[in-house]
Symmetry: C2
Subunit: 220 residues, 2 copies
Amino acid sequence: MQFTLEDISDEEIARRRSVYEPLTDSVRQLIDAVIRTEVDDDVITQARTRIDELVADLRAEQMDGPYGVRYTPEFVGMPWGNAVVGLRNAIAPPLHTRHDGDEVSAEFTLGAAYEGPAGHVHGGICAMVLDHVLGEGASIDNVPCYTGTISVRYLRPTPLGPLTARASIVAREGRKKTVRGTLADAGGITVEAEGVFIEPRNWAGRMPRAADHYRPDVPD
Amino acid sequence: MQFTLEDISDEEIARRRSVYEPLTDSVRQLIDAVIRTEVDDDVITQARTRIDELVADLRAEQMDGPYGVRYTPEFVGMPWGNAVVGLRNAIAPPLHTRHDGDEVSAEFTLGAAYEGPAGHVHGGICAMVLDHVLGEGASIDNVPCYTGTISVRYLRPTPLGPLTARASIVAREGRKKTVRGTLADAGGITVEAEGVFIEPRNWAGRMPRAADHYRPDVPD
């Protein structure tokens, strides 16, 4: 389980968040607009040139590889590049998970960018969200886990729009945790999932709080 | 299973593809740059303003809802908004699936935007890709299917970089098809998946060729 220490203050984290979160939200709007736009070709072509200029400006200084999983001296997680919860990742809806007792939950809205069947969420996106929420549920006691297996059962198509995902641990056996979760719209549950998560043997480290379910690079 | 007819010629499809595909690829670069940039705050703030201007220009004329699943008079599928394969969807890697005999496969590369554990693909992204490839494998005989269940088994963490996904039908029983698939890097298989897919009862329609595995809105 690789975490990178960002030796910065809470104030600096708040400052960075205030700069990157709006930028990423604007890119999410752009993704949606590119799918749905009906403007003339010349506007599209100009838009592409303007985006390429933006990319060049942003890449003038950049980290070599991916963002990684970072944490602060106060051991607060900063998974800002994460594909599901990352505040700097425009692919992420993003999910803002809540921990209430034993349950992890998230309320979020999925638009055109998450479509599979017409007007509905891609089944793979449902699986992606549930994998993440179940993984976070497995680590709710701050002992990290890696995913062994996850099974997803589609009860009915999930419409695009506001959704809720929930997960909690239903059984423990040694280093093994079984977690169950659901995805639901206003009409009830659309997808169910169950996962088996394994704690690394001899886990001695600490893990950042919040969104801190990352699987170890080596099982144990 | 909802498909929308786009009554346009192959030439018009090729023209649209030549306009939208480069635009979407540029947005994919932007997503990566936003995760990895280290430029000063003022450049970030200006970038956000420029993106908002782009969004406004593209939204000047746009479709009301999501893209949907379209097909041509020649019954070629145009799932251009799809979250996994859509050429107008910057969230999609995108996957370009190949059908060889009974097998569906796709070679693709996942970068920083698909990260979960540091340097590795988010487990939910692995599940998303496998859900899609298995679904397409289930429909390889051009009879559409909806997903009943999918089980994903993580053998080891999947590194970011070039990957291959494969799927094929391993059993049929009435309207039920069992499909197995794998995700692999250069070192071999990292994730295995098995799914049960169901053909709609009394399916009388035709379905577009290619990326045509979309689940029906009503099972039967």
